[in-house]
Every structure is written in C-alpha cells, then in structure tokens.
Amino acid sequence: MPPDLIAGAPDLEAIAAQVFVALADPTRRAILAALASGGPATATDLAGRLPITRQAIAKHLALLAEAGLVTAEPGERRRVRYRLRSAPMQVAQQFLAALARDWDGPLDALKDHLSR
C-alpha cells in the first residue's frame, strides 16, 4: 500500500491526481475499465481481452499497482492477479462531485420562482 494511504491524513489531492493521471492514458484506461467490468484478472487474461501486448499490460499494471490503483494478489497457478482498488477512485469522484455540483442553476430557479 502506498505510504499516503497509511498515514493518518492521506493527501487527497495526490490520490486524486494519480487517478486522473492513470485515466489520461488510453491503455491504462482500458486496463482499469476491463478490471472494473470483469473483475480481478491476470496480465494474460487482460492481453486476451484487449488489443495490447501482454508486455505492455504488465508494465502498466506495475505502474498502477505502484500508484495504489490496483492491488496484486496471488491467483490460480501462481499467477499474479490484479484487482481494482475503489478507494482512490472514490477520492477522485469527490473531487469531481465538487466540480459537478451546480448551485447556479437552482439559485437562478429560486429567483425565478420568487419573482413569479
């Protein structure tokens, strides 16, 4: 687990930044999407599902694991299986929730309502 997730006050911004950096890359986006939709998978599983070489997938999975966005766990036949970690995604989602919160629309509607 990365240090910022163990400390008492995790650096939310750093966590969100890692998510956004990961999502900015189409290959990593495809890997994360595959893990989200299909559940934990090995690099070989993912290579069978995505138009990406196993080597490239393994490299990206290592980066994602280092960033704390996926965890490696023992799978069948001694293969490493990767699982999406939802906690950092939820931190990024909080960030997006603030950006997506629309108060201007409702407050305009309130003014309109009271003027009627």
């Binding site: 906690a87 939820q90 909080q94 960030f95 409702p106």
Partner: protein
C-alpha cells in the same frame, strides 16, 4: 490545496427573508425550484427528500433550523456509493437587505476523509464483494 472542499454562492433576492425562508424550508417551496417533488420534516435531525423525474433522489438530513436566518442540511456526495458515510453540509444564510434578502449558500465537505471512513471504504470495497461472493458460494455449496 486545490482539492475543492467548499462551494459558496451569494445571491441578492428582491423578496424579504420570510418569503425566501418558505421557499427553502417547505415541501411546496423546495418542489417549486429545486426538486420536482419534495418532502421535509423541518427540525434538526428531521429527514427531507427531493426527487426528480428520471428517478434521481436526494435524501437530506436537516441540521440547523433558525427561522428565518439559517437553514442547514447534510446530504450524500453525489457519485459515491449509497452506503458511503461521507456527506457534504449545505447551509443557507438569509440576511435582510432593505426590502430584499442576501442569500448565501455554502456547501462544504467535498475534501473530507476521516481515516476510519477511508479505511471502511477501502476495506469494504476490496473485501466486500469478495466476501459476499464467498458467502454465496458457501451457501450454494451447503444447499
């Protein structure tokens, strides 16, 4: 810190606080500008709900009721799972200005992350499905 925790808006309204208060704190008022349907139990700890066509629902918990000056509630952070304990706090402040009202709305808590909630979210999500699916397998095996 660039992580946005707080949103604040101030609007000047050409109506007295009592009228604005009714629009903010009654089911009829809320349903006429905010939700499409609303219900509210206006007391600290009371529950309120707004619904929109399309099925979106916002459940609120009333926190502060100081008629006609302060109305506060908490609600769920949009996009997080329903069982996530994190909520933002919304507070409306009404100040009389001549014949009108200066209405301030402040929503805070987007950047909150108590460690226990974080651990709960983390543990819950990494182990939740695995253990639930494990329980299902055990149940089916036993049947």
């Amino acid at each position: 810190m660039a992580f946005p925790d707080r949103i604040e808006r101030v609007v000047e309204i050409a109506h007295p606080p009592a009228k604005v208060w009714a629009a903010l704190t009654t089911a009829e008022g809320l349903a006429s500008w905010f939700g499409q349907q609303a219900r509210i139990d206006l007391r600290p700890g009371g529950s309120a709900q707004m619904t929109w066509t399309g099925g979106h629902t916002a459940d609120m918990r009333v926190e502060r009721v100081e008629e006609p000056a302060v109305f506060g509630f908490t609600w769920h952070i949009y996009g997080l799972p329903d069982d996530d304990p994190r909520r933002t706090y919304v507070e409306f402040t009404l100040e009389p200005t001549g014949a009108g009202t200066r209405l301030t709305v402040v929503e805070t808590g987007f950047a909150q992350l108590p460690e226990d909630a974080y651990r709960k979210a983390y543990d819950g999500n990494t182990q939740g499905w695995a253990s639930e699916l494990g329980d299902l397998v055990d149940y089916l095996d036993a049947a």
